[in-house]
Every structure is written in C-alpha cells, then in structure tokens.
Symmetry: C2
Subunit: 599 residues, 2 copies
C-alpha cells in the first residue's frame, strides 16, 4: 500500500517537510493549505520538488464550510473552490478534502448537503478532481462517518466519495465496523492518527494531542482491518496535529511516523518486515569517558573488577556476577563527562534483530572493527544510544567476549551484585513517544504505563519497556519541555540479593551513597511497620523502600560521575516497578547534592 503523511504533521517550511517525508520513505504527501500559502514556491515548483523527491501529492486539504448552507453562501464557496481546483491542477493534486460544515449558517438538511456536494463535485470534475467528504468529530450537523457516507451515497456523484479519519471516528467512540458497509471505491482517502485516551474537548484533543499509530490508545489496527475489507486501495496517510511535533525536527519525526505505519501494516498483515527478535538479557552496558579514573573508582567500590581488555580498542571490561560494564576511553569520549552510550543486548539471532531494526528505519551502525574482531550487529536508538545485538554464545560462533583478552583469572565473585537490573535512559524531550514505540517495535519489548514523576524543577514522565522474564528492563524518562534544567543523568541499576550488605560494602570501600532526608524515614515509619532496627539501617545507608501487589523493592544510589550514576536494587517477590514513588525524594536529594558541590 502507498504511504503518505500530511505536511501539517511535520515542523518547518514546506520544503523541509517534503524533504523529511521523502527521506523517511513515504510515497506521498497531503498538502495542508496553510503550508502552501506560506511557501515562496509557486504550485508548479512544489509539484516539481515533489517529483524530484519521489513524492506524489495524494491530497490537498482542507476545504471548509461548503455544504448545507444557504444558496448565496454556497455560491461564494463554489467560487472559492474553483480557485482551489485551478490551483490543484497547477499542483498536480487530484483529490481534495472537504470537511463537514462547522459554520453557524449550516442547516441540518442532508438533502441540501448532498445536492450542494454534488454541484461541487460537478465543478471538481471539470478540473479532473475528486472530492473526499469527511465528518469532523465536531461538525455542526454531520459528525459521524456513517452520516457523511449517507450524504455521499445520496449525492450519487462519481467525483464524490468519503474520507475516513481514524481520529474523528474513534474519538467519538463510533463503532468502525460499519465502515465495511461502504464500497471501497467510494472511500477516496484514509487518514490515520492515534491519540492518548484523554477525557477532554474533542477539538482541543484533535488539534494538539494526536500522535502516530501505536503511540496512543486507539485501536487503529482494528479500524484499518475494516477499511481493508472494503477493498480500499488508496494510501495510508498520517494526519497528526501535535504541539510537540510542531517544534521537533522534521527529519526524525518523519522517520518516527514512517516506522509507526510499518508497524501498523505489519499488525494487519499488510507488510511483512523481518520478525522481531526479543533480547534475552543485557550483555553489557558501555560507558564512554575521556577520563576513566572517577568511574572505575566507583565501579571498584561497587565490587566490580577489571577482568578483560579489548584486543584492539581502549575498552576495559569490568565485571561482577553477570553484570558487565565496558569502560571505553576511545575518541568519542567527551569532556562533559562519563556517559552511558551503548547497551549490549543478548540476542538469539543478532543478524535477524539487525534486519528487523533496519526494516523499521533504525540507523544501522558502521562496524568499526578490526579484521579479527567478532561481527557485532549494532543500530542506533532514537536518542543516539548504540544498541549491540550480542550472540548468546552458540557453539562455534564467536561472541563479543572473544574480542577481549582476560586480565585476571576471572570475575571477583565476592561482591553482592548479580546482574544489571535495569537501565534508565533519559530521552531528548520530544522523543518520548518515539522511544517507547522504537523499543516496542524494533526490539519486541513490552511497554508499561507511563507515570508522572515530580522533580523539584519540573514534572518528568517515565515509562519502562521490558521483555517477558524481566531480564531486560529499560526505563525511558523525559522532562516536560526542552530545557536543560530537566535533563538528568542516566543510570545503571545493579541487582543484588541483599541491598544492605551491598551498600555497606560499597561504603566500606570508600563509595559515597546519596543521602536521603530523615523526613522520608519518618514518613515510612508512619506508613508501615518494619522489624526492629530495619528502618534505622535504611536511614543510615539511604535505602529507599517501595512495595506493590507483588513484592518489595529496596534501593539506594551512588553519587553521580559525569552524566551517569548507579543504583543498587533488591527486588523481592516479583515486584514489578522501579521505585517511582520514591523518585521525587531521590531527585530532590540529587539536586541538593549537586547544589552542595556547585555551591
């Protein structure tokens, strides 16, 4: 099926939008009238630019308040429409979107609506143009897709069909099953948009909060199945009004959009990208640094030992139990400090995982490796984090570990850390929904609900993605707006069977734990009874406590080195969360610690 995107879904000038749509692999675009009005290019030049970019112009939109109005008003509308039809010929667009009237002059008269739409279609036909009539969810008299279809049917004009828009249909809670009653050839166009399930005024919801398929709460696959059963063979076109996308760079937004459409097509069986290969564990986390000293001192205090060194690169492997941290002092290390730059995911089929990622538009990273190194498939996540797919060590196949030469006999197993519990990745402010969709669709992880977290200086949102057995857990976190103030360090959470012992050992080894306010423990005592002495231990070490319906969670934090810090966690009895209720206290403590250092 052809894919298309409305120019209003992307940020920038019209030519920026067209370039981004083309580069992301869309076949066509809807030209939003205001984008054309604001462009210095003549319609013929826009047509030429689209042709150069391999884009068809699938739709010109919107035309408003045409039908079911007094004759004099309709005459004015028809005059306006003829101007637009002439423009569309210059543009090379053959379908125009007409939205149901919102005009206070519109009357509730389907026969009049049908008659006037037929006369409009007569005029359109002179220009070789088709009219696609769509019910706006807030249309004055016509607000449901079946009502719009009844009017189109009554008009009985070959140049008049209907346009379906998933937002307008699903936001009103209409049953999309009735779509199957419409002959496919009378569905002139299909616009797709998802949206979070908000209880709010539908016009505001539509204008500001739409999102790409799979990023909201609508059942778009269900709707699309109904449409496909009609025989519809027009494009799948994304029309998404979203305040964030308006500000974000057009290029990445277009890639995000195109990926969402591929996933939707896959869901309904209309596309067959390589199947997802769900990762089965975290092979390693990689830190990039210009100066390894501070972070390796921290790793040492946590009980990690340097166990190996890469044969051809300045990369050390630090290990404890099954937790492996690579410390890379290579050329990409920057002066702004140590950062979490890459993740190695254990994969039963690294090549398959990479093929899936590539089909879903994840940049495949060049393999900068020496001749003797093991092949390592890698892609970039939307936030730039490098994801390596590491073979789970099938016999006869060299794993990434073979590129490292041992520097001591083995990992020091005396420590308390058993593995990486989760990785927390702060995201650029406008890539939160994209990141969740990426991790779900590219890696086959499941996304949990997103939660609000109150930082002292703004509200954060956080959402975790995991595999089924919890051996891969990634927490995606984002600030509320594009300000440096709310960008926080990333962190690596280390699993331990006894967080108290691990914290004590860390402190004995010279590590600094994040101090947690005494008031927190007074509150904990008010909320729950603990065995004698336990709370005092938590208080002494700065251990936070949470529980859910499944189990308990105890966790504490190290100080921050550059752009990264560590968490020690003890997850008991099937606890599923990440201690989110404690995050405001932890964040405030981190701000306080930073103010202390800075001040």
């Amino acid at each position: 099926m052809r894919t298309s995107i409305a120019t209003v879904s992307l940020s920038g000038s019209l030519t920026e939008k067209l370039t981004a749509a083309s580069r992301a692999g869309f076949d066509g675009v809807e030209i939003f009238e205001n984008d054309l009005l604001a462009s210095p290019l003549a319609p013929e030049e826009i047509r030429g630019r689209c042709a150069d970019l391999g884009l068809s112009i699938e739709l010109y939109q919107p035309m408003r308040d045409i039908e079911a109005v007094p004759e004099e008003e309709f005459a004015r509308g028809l005059r306006r429409a003829r101007h637009k039809f002439a423009l569309m010929r210059r543009l090379g667009a053959d379908t125009v979107l007409v939205c149901s009237s919102v005009s206070p002059q519109a009357v509730d008269d389907d026969a009049l609506a049908a008659e006037q739409l037929a006369r409009l279609a007569d005029a359109a036909r002179e220009y070789g143009i088709r009219v696609a009539y769509e019910a706006l969810a807030w249309g004055r008299h016509v607000s449901t897709y079946d009502h719009a279809w009844r009017i189109v049917k009554a008009a009985g004009h070959p140049a008049l069909g209907t346009c379906l828009d998933s937002f307008h249909i699903l936001s009103r809670g209409s049953d999309p099953k009735g779509i199957e009653d419409i002959p496919g050839e009378k569905i002139f166009f299909l616009q797709l948009a998802d949206a979070p399930l908000l209880a709010m005024d539908v016009l505001q919801w539509s204008r500001h909060y739409r999102c790409f398929p799979g990023q909201g709460g609508f059942d778009l696959a269900g709707l699309l199945r109904h449409v496909l059963r009609t025989g519809y063979d027009g494009p799948l076109s994304l029309e998404v009004f979203n305040d964030v996308f308006r500000q974000a760079e057009a290029g990445p937004t277009a890639v995000d959009a195109r990926r969402s459409l591929t996933v939707l097509q896959e869901t309904v069986g209309a596309a067959r990208p390589p199947a997802p290969v769900v990762p089965t564990g975290v092979a390693f986390a990689e830190l990039l640094t210009a100066d390894a000293e501070p972070v390796t001192a921290l790793l040492g205090a946590l009980g990690f030992a340097r166990t190996a060194r890469h044969r051809s690169k300045p990369v050390d492997l630090w290990q404890q139990g099954e937790a492996r941290i690579l410390v890379n002092t290579g050329p990409a290390g920057r002066r702004d400090g140590t950062r979490l730059a890459a993740i190695g995911l254990r994969s039963p089929d690294p090549a398959g995982a990479a093929r899936r990622a590539e089909a879903l538009l994840a940049p495949v990273l060049p393999r900068r490796r020496a001749a003797q190194d093991a092949p390592l498939e890698a892609v970039a996540a939307p936030d730039g984090t490098e994801l390596f797919f590491c073979a789970t060590g099938r016999p006869g196949r060299p794993g990434w570990r073979a590129d490292f030469a041992d520097t001591q006999t083995g990992p020091r197993d005396a420590g308390d850390v058993t593995r990486i519990d989760h990785l927390s990745l702060t995201q650029p402010w406008h890539h939160f929904d994209e990141a969740a969709l990426f991790h779900r669709s590219v890696l086959g992880l499941r996304a949990q609900e997103s939660v609000d977290v109150a930082d002292p200086y703004g509200l954060l949102r956080s959402r975790a993605v995991t595999n089924d057995d919890g051996s891969v857990r990634i927490a995606l976190t984002v600030g509320p707006a594009p300000t440096g103030d709310t960008v926080h360090a990333r962190h690596i959470a280390l699993a331990t069977g006894d967080v108290v012992a691990a914290a004590r050992r860390f402190r004995a080894a010279g590590g600094r734990l994040l101090p947690i306010p005494a008031n927190y423990y007074d509150d904990l005592a008010a909320r729950q009874e603990f065995p004698d002495g336990e709370l005092e231990t938590y208080r002494e070490l700065g251990i936070l406590y949470d529980r859910d319906a499944y189990g308990e969670f105890r966790h504490c934090y190290t100080h921050t080195v550059g752009q990264v810090f560590f968490e020690l966690v003890q997850r008991d009895g099937g606890y599923r969360g990440y201690g989110a209720p404690n995050a405001p206290v932890r964040l405030a403590a981190q701000h306080a610690a930073r103010a202390l250092t800075a001040g």
Copy 2:
C-alpha cells in the same frame, strides 16, 4: 486578611520555596508533605526557617483515605495520622488537611465517615491540632463541598471543620452560594485556585492546569464573597498545581501569585491598593542599541526625522506625526542588537500609576536622571520591559519632552505615519499569564481572548491588552516551550491612513519590505473580491489583508534589525484585531528571510 501559598505552587527545594514566598510578601505557607519529605531539614529547622522569614505555617497537607473505610483500614490510617500529628507539633503547624477518600475500600456511608473523622479529630486534639476536611472533586463518595460540610456537621467535633477549595467547588459547577450556610468558624481553611475553562478530566485539569486567581475562567471573587459573608477569618491561601510553575523560577512565580491575591482582595473590597490609572496613549517606544546606524536608517526610510536629543543622555528622539521613537545608545545597549526595551505611556497621574504598580509588586525603577531632568516614574514589567509613566503635559508641570533639546524645527509631517498603533512584546515562555494579569491589574488595561498562532517551528499564543479607546494596544506573544527557536523579535506597529502610500514611500527611500508569497494572494483572491488592481498592489508590496465584523486591516512588515522590526498598519472602520490570521504567513516569511541571510 492573612495571605498564604502552598509550597506545591512553587518550583525548587523547600527552602527556595519558602524564601520566594517570604520575599513576595506572603504571611504564611501550606507545607505540602512531599516537599517536607524531600527536604534535608528537620521539622524544627523548617519551623525556624519559616520564623526567620516571617512566615507562619498555616496548614500541613494532605492526609488521604482516612474516612469511611473498614475499621482495620481506619486503625492503620489513625496510626499514620498520629505520626503526622507528632511531626506537625515539631513543625509548629496546627491545621491538617484531610481530603475525601478516593480509596476503592471507601464506602458510601456518611455516618461512618462522620464517626471516623470525629475519632481522628479526637486524636488531633491531643496534639492541639485541628482537622480540615475537604471534598475532592473526584472523591469516591464525597465530591461536593456541601456533602463534606454535612459530614463535618454530623460529626459535631470542635477540632473538625471543613476546608473549601475553589477549584474543587467551581470545576464541578457547584453553586458557591450554599457556602453561606456554613458557620464561618467551621471553615477551617480556604484554598484558592483559578483554572482555564477546559473540558477535560477533572483530575488531570486539577493536577496540571490550575492557575492563580484572575488568570483563568472561574469567578473567584464571587466565591470569596460568599466565604467572607460566613465570617471566615482564616488565611486566603493559593494552592496551584501547574506544570509551568513547576519549571519556572520560584521568585517571580511567588510575586505573580501574591499580585493575583491582592487583585482578588481588591475586587471583593478586602484590600484597597491605590486605584489604577489607565494610560491614555503611547508617549514613546524606546530602542536600546549599541549601534544606532541600522535602525535609524530604517526609521529614516519610514519617514521619521530626528527631532531632538536628550540633554544629558545619549538618546535621540525620532518622530513622525504622534509616533515617537527614542534611540538610546547608552551603556545598556548590547551586542545582540537593537531591542525594544522601554515604553513611555501617557498618564493623567504618573505618581498614582507608580503607586498602583508598587502596591502590586512591580519593581519601581531607580530614576537615573540628572538634576535638571523632569521626574519620570518608571516600573518594570514581568518581562523586564521598562514602563515609564509620562505626564500628559499639564500646564506648569514639566513633561519628559522638556529633557530633550530640539535638533530641527519640528517633526517632518510629510510622512504617512500618524502614531504607534500597537507594540508587540514577546514574553519569556513561562510568563504569559503573569504578563496578561500584570497589564490588566497594574495598568488597568483590558485583555482580549488569547489566540493560537502557528509558526512553522511551533505554536505561539498571543493576547492583546488595550485601553478603552485603543490608543494603547500591546500584543503579548509567547512560544509554547522554553526553547530559543520560538523566541521572536518584538515589533512596533505604526498607524497610517494609507498603507499603500506608506509602503511605497518606504521602498522608494531604500527600505526593504518583507516579501509575502504569491500563494497568499491567490488565496485572498479565492476568498474575496477586490477592486481592479488592488490585489496586484498588495502582492507587489507584500501587504496582508484581514477583516472582522467591524472593519478592515491592511499591514506590511519591514526587515528585522537586531531584535526588532516595524509594521505599517491601516486600520479601517473599527477593526479590532491585529491580523492574527495572517501571522503564520508572516512568520514563515520571516523565517525564510532569515534563512536566506544566514544561508
């Protein structure tokens, strides 16, 4: 009446919040529990800090899910409450807020609720504490203020009263008149918050979109009048959950908050700040620049002549008709280019205007003037713009103009510009609502509805404030989020009786007009018929056109110099707007012009 603010309304650490509240002149605070939990200060230290800052602790909040629950659950709640009562004694707080239960365990049983609240109040009394019970708008069984009061009344306990919250009452559309049925001494607390009138889920509305009184759509004065009639003599306390305030600096937010409360008190007759003195015109606009050449060349091309020079400062007066522009090359001129830094407002009572401003917490600016200069009252707007109140030239009283010595015989009256039509002031992203309230309350201007304007790189909001005869018009504009991308230049719109003549003259004098895309004029032709040749003239000059129910508006733009540009406007037949429908096209053209220069 005492004034108070909840710590949750402000950004930062608890001590930052307290400091900001104190500096803005609040008498007390509500301590929000999470702020205390996250603070490294012990309760006694917080108490001491408040005392040092002259702040009383009016309320500790919130306590949740206490009442109308099974006995075992209540026992746990009571245990938790006793911990909190002990904490409150250390804190020196004597009133606690209890919100109506949202727990799924809560039952619909007023008698049980009353009995358990009475037992809670018994415990509270042991600590010298009063319990204020409040109906949350989304409470499970108790969601209206009159229902909460019936339960309090039934409990009949001296340490139990009710807390009224304007958001919870007005968001549900409850009639606040019934408040007068509650004896004032049983209203233990009054929380005030306004909110924009949004049709959305009340919990989300409450948690993210509350605002200070006068910045939303609720009739807070009406509610407050009912409360005052009961004899309530507790504090007026602002409890505002707002995503923007969470990110904004606490100091200015606290000032904004305190100002809103003064205005509310004035409205109900509970405070009498000096009366507003509405400005009667724009005396001048002042540009600050390190290099006057580019902007004076532009002014010259617009038909302005340099008519006078300040006797003691490097400030020139450029004049045309009644439009006066000061060009100041003094020490504050910065290398980032010419900017619109000050506005002179004609005032029938400059000293009175300044007293009003000072009472409403506008910083009064030091008068940096030579001994012989005329006194000039000035205050700073929230965005830092200096506002000068200029005497309207009463006989015997020296006006600001007397500080200037003529450099030519008089203004060149040959030009087409008659006066300043309006000033457009871009605002820091988080000060939009504050700016509107400031201009309304401090200057006595009226605010029009705010409108969304689509810039190619994000959505802007714009709102105009005017005096009654339109001789003072200021458009406040703000980007959607704190990014430099959406900060636009300010501009000065110049009124002319014939924009075509003015534009031609400007161009003939070497001025550059912003080119407007041909597509815009094709659309204009489709929408409306113009006399022969008129549209071609607009097209040639880049003149934009709009009309409203009252009249017509024609306008065009100069190129940008530093951080400022000019608009020539012709306002006919009582047109009230500012050409907002044309703003997307103009903004796109400005981005394109900038890209051309930059590229």
